[in-house]
């Protein structure tokens, strides 16, 4: 019995050790890649986990990460097709690159991962530009404005975060700027975290939290589409921007994307995008507030 116990223990430790070694291995090679990416963009891109512009064109398909459950920005419509403000831009990018688009459905929390592991070439999933994220991925020029907002039921509207009681829980989605902002600035507020939009929405409708904090675009849309809810705090924290993102160091794709965005901006493409995808939800009032036409 004793012998067996020792055996089990040693094999357990061995497994842990091996895992640790392999993980540290990955860590150091990642570092080497990112420090080398400036000089070796042409040579070492497959090692760094991304595809250059030429490689994408050659393969004939671009992988774009979008939301599939965040109407009206990125969602799957009644015909099973991807649609929304972000997807409208993605379609244009595919058209101008002359390649097919392979949409990859993402969740808020895995957007950075998908870029770092090369599962997608571009993330176009309502990705708010923040300092922390900019260390992990490269953002192109912004195409939309956003701030945080808090929605709550009509019966008990939360107009200030100070209104929250000690036991009140605020619903947030894991990996969003709302989560990071509240965790950093209001560490005492209890957060109820969900890993997808659809689940957070259902939980909020079921009354599992007193309020839902998210991008203000999202909570405004929710209050417009659902009876009985009010956006008590329409703007919280700093005004941020939303931009496409590519894998850190993917210079060729980033340069092309920025040129594309500037040229689209000069045609007022994003106002047309708003009118095609967002007008039904937000009306004309929010157009100038939300839309950014990228420029150098």
């Amino acid at each position: 019995m004793k012998k067996n116990l020792v055996k089990t223990l040693t094999s357990g430790l061995l497994v842990t050790g091996l895992l640790a070694a392999s993980l540290t291995g990955c860590g150091s090679s990642d570092k080497a890649d990112s420090s080398a990416d400036g000089s070796a963009v042409e040579a070492g891109e497959s090692a760094a986990g991304f595809r250059t512009l030429d490689e994408i064109k050659e393969s004939g398909t671009i992988n774009i990460g979008v939301f599939s459950d965040k109407s009206p920005f990125g969602y799957v419509d009644e015909n099973g097709e991807y649609a929304g403000y972000d997807v409208y831009l993605a379609e244009k990018i595919g058209e101008d690159l002359g390649v097919d688009i392979n949409y990859v459905s993402t969740e808020a929390a895995n957007r950075i991962e998908y870029l770092q592991t090369g599962k997608v070439d571009i993330i176009l999933a309502n990705f708010t530009v923040t300092e922390e994220r900019a260390q992990e991925v490269d953002f192109a020029l912004p195409y939309m404005n956003v701030a945080l907002g808090v929605v709550s039921p009509d019966g008990a509207v939360i107009e200030s975060l100070d209104d929250l009681g000690a036991d009140d829980e605020v619903i947030v989605i894991s990996g969003t700027t709302a989560e990071t902002y509240l965790a950093k600035n209001y560490p005492d507020i209890k957060l109820q975290k969900y890993d997808a939009y659809a689940e957070a929405k259902t939980a909020f409708e079921n009354g599992n939290g007193v309020a839902w904090a998210n991008d203000n675009t999202e909570v405004i849309a929710f209050a417009i589409e659902n009876e009985g809810y009010t956006v008590g705090i329409p703007s919280l924290g700093d005004q941020d921007t939303i931009a496409p993102a590519v894998t850190k160091g993917n210079e060729t794709l980033l340069t092309w994307l920025n040129d594309e965005l500037v040229s689209l901006g000069s045609e007022n493409f994003f106002h047309a995008d708003y009118e095609a995808t967002l007008l039904d939800t937000y009306g004309a009032d929010y157009e100038d507030e939300l839309v950014v036409e990228p420029s150098k």
């Binding site: 089990t8 357990g12 895992l19 929390a109 260390q135 894991s174 990996g175 975290k193």
Partner: protein, 219 residues
């Protein structure tokens, strides 16, 4: 790998481990109770109840825990049954585990030779006495490996709790990666914490299994 990050995140993982263990054990105890009652019903061939237990087993063994949790947590409130996330976790785990436990106990009961029941009955013991004093001790001893496999299986199943907003180990790791993108450190801690939770159970299980063997009798 950054050691400072590991130290910084350690307390969060510790909280998640405690939550996982707390909900896990409550769910396992519930599963154990359901297993005992259910297998007794099947053993005694109780009319009607036996059919219900059969349907329950098939229902919960053939749907994923994720779906069961979704149903309990998101669908029941729509018909007015509000359940907290923790209760939902215990209930989901208990009901899923119960279905497996019934099958494990039942196979244990069936493995005890019929002659034991016949002998006990011929000595004038009641049905319940026969089960409680003669059959069950032997059946549980035979079932121990199966029970332990179920316990470990149920503790691993807690990794889908993120769906119902419980900050278990898996969700803590995903959440931290989403916020701060320290992927390697977060995943390393995740593996280590699961091993810390499950390895001792495997080892203790191996010891208990050997001890319980003495309970077996007759062959």
């Amino acid at each position: 790998m950054d050691k400072d990050i590991l130290v910084e995140y350690f307390p969060l993982y510790k909280d998640a481990l405690f939550l996982t263990l707390k909900i896990g054990w409550q769910g396992i105890i519930l599963a154990f109770v359901i297993g005992l009652i259910g297998s007794a019903i099947i053993h005694f061939k109780t009319p009607v109840l036996r059919k219900i237990v059969g349907i329950y087993i098939e229902l919960f063994r053939n749907t994923p825990l994720l779906v069961q949790l979704f149903f309990i947590y998101f669908a029941l409130p729509k018909v007015g049954i509000q359940i907290t996330a923790k209760t939902c976790g215990v209930l989901g785990l208990g009901l899923l585990g119960g279905a497996y436990m019934i099958e494990t106990f039942r196979s244990g009961l069936e493995a005890v030779p019929v002659i034991q029941t016949e002998s006990a009955l011929s000595l004038g013991m009641s049905d319940f006495q026969t089960l409680w004093y003669v059959i069950l001790p032997q059946a549980i001893s035979i079932s121990v490996p199966g029970i332990l496999a179920n316990v470990i299986f149920l503790l691993k199943e807690t990794s889908v709790f993120s769906t119902i907003s419980l900050m278990d180990l898996m969700f803590t790791a995903k959440d931290l990666i989403g916020m701060y993108a320290k992927t390697i450190e977060c995943l390393f801690l995740l593996v280590v914490f699961y091993l810390v939770m499950l390895l001792p159970i495997s080892i203790i299980g191996a010891i208990v299994e050997r001890r319980m063997r003495y309970g077996q009798f007759g062959d």
